[in-house]
Amino acid sequence: MKLYEYVIRRLIFMVFVLIAISIIVFYLTRGTLPPASALAPYVTPKMTDAEKLGVAQSLGVAELGCPSYSAYIARASGCIVPLYQQYFSWLRLALTGNWGYSQIPGIAVGTTTWQLFADRFPYTAELATVAVILTVVLAIPMGIISATHNNKLPDHASRITALAGYSMPLFWLGFILQLVFVLYITIPRGSEQIGLLQSSGTLYTQCAICFSNPGSITAYTGFPLIDSIASGNAAYFWDSLLAIALPAFTLSFGTLGALTRVVRSSMMECLRQDYIVLARSKGLRERTVVYRYALRNAILPALTITGYIAAALLGGAVIVEDVFSWPGIGAAALDASLYLDVNFLELYTLVAAVIIVVANLVVDVLYAYLDPRVRY
């Protein structure tokens, strides 16, 4: 099979995955939740019951013969359209970009679900990117040292760190970090002690090492770090960097173990190969052997895992976003599920699934490109 055939086949399969996921979420939410929640994204509270019924009928969730809105709410017979028909009318709306209004409290009334998602997504993407960079920067050296010092102290230390990452309740780590950096590490300013960082949110307003009033930036992309560079606001950039530090570190600590373990085992595998023996017997320095010869081959499996980690984090880190009040899509999805915003949940799961499937595909293709032995 040619590579492009393989890609096309996977992309076609992705469509089926997306349809299946949207059906599962649709049946879970519409099938069991009260009928009002299906209608909520499309109506405003000011509408009369007759108007709401009209909207319900035009959306294809209430039968045309339904006598009144209260009958629809009470699931009276002859009022609720069968679910599979509802699915198709919902799908038609969704594909034309009509996802209704957001139901999450605290969001400006009249914000569409789509707008909310677009506003929140850059925050999650930025957090995931920084976390992945941190993971790679920490895990690859740890894995290499672990493999080259097999069963010695550095190996044990890095293995325990990796295992601690696997075993860490991230919601707990998040609070412990906040406790340490906000309560216990303080810098005196005037008469009071001010924490090194402030507890949570996107920007700190009061902390020892940040600007309390960094000014404002123009939202070119929605990514605070990029926008602050584009706007030339260094203070804002510094503050954004401080704000993202703790959540990104928390996230990366949880994913550190997986990458370290892969780097370690593939490095050990590579160091045992004949060409490494040859390189050593030629009298090359150990550093050259490890970093120029072994690492090149050992890094491939690490690439795969990094791809999966990136996809998983981009899909939203619900718990960490919740702990740090980070305004990303993961935290929004949690709110959406609490306030039965079914359309946001649909949008969120579908986008996350697209990210996961596409990331896996990209990793596979990249792998085939980098390692000529792999063919599909």
Binding site: A164, F171, L183, I319, A333, S337
Partner: protein, 330 residues
Amino acid sequence: MSNPNNQEKSAQGTPKTTGEDREKKGKKEQPTGRLAEIRFALYLARRNPLVIAGAAISIISILLAALSSLIVPPNIWEVSNLAMRLCWNNPLINWHISSVATCSGAQVYPLGTDSYGRNLLQMIILALPLDLETSFEIVSSAFLIGVVLGSAAAYIGGLVDEAIMRITDIFFAFPGIVLAIVILTVFGRTLPNLTIAVLVVWWPIYVRLVRSQVLSEKEKPYVEALKSTGASPIRILYRHILPNSIYPVLVQFTLDIGGVILVFSGLMFLGFSPNPKLPELGNLVSDGIQYVFTAPWLVIFPGLTILLISLGFNLLGDGIRDVLDPRLRR
């Protein structure tokens, strides 16, 4: 890969054992087969202090969980004592926070009290059986589903394989915890629903793992030999292939006990607890977060317990993996 221990034994068996071990073995008949494998595995595990630590933590936590109702009155979590709310009187730790309240009375609360005035240490001990039991339930169910579906997919192949694997693909593309959240939102926050929600997220891993193991195992010559003796496919699968391919799945099982506790307590932390007073480690952390700057022990100790239990099972699983995989030995 089927029988790593045998290969390893022939490669480096006796010369590597210590003098003490050789003496013991010399007295008895040299054990063969499974018994020898188990002995050799135990010997390897003994040499690794991390495995010992992991095994110790796991066994202690299981014992504590089993005996918790004897140590602590099982219904004491329902009793609030608001007079003793959020206080600390363990002299060993000074929190250096001005607002910490000191518990009055002679009774020492080793880990302070929570927002309902309950003894936090008692709550943590009471939480152990719930967390461990749920985790075992979820992982064993996922394990069973994995063994049945995974071996069916690999052994029957064709359309069955395709169907099972495409379904797992769908679940792999789901953002896991959100599916669990949707299930809990829709069906209500009860303990059985929490168990099911995590299970729905967890089973596909086992199907993939068992399938890949069985796939590589069924091409081995001994399966061919069994077929030629006329053994039934079911017998070959369940009596021969599965026992030989189960080790990596058992490693995953051990590792997942910790992993599931993290997800389960994470869901509790996010507010999906059926009862805010329920002694469950994640729920205890969740109860403590609003007091994190005035009563930090409420967050620290339950979370530390989660970390310890999870670390224990992970160390154990990691050690078992090292023992079973000859490439990682030495």
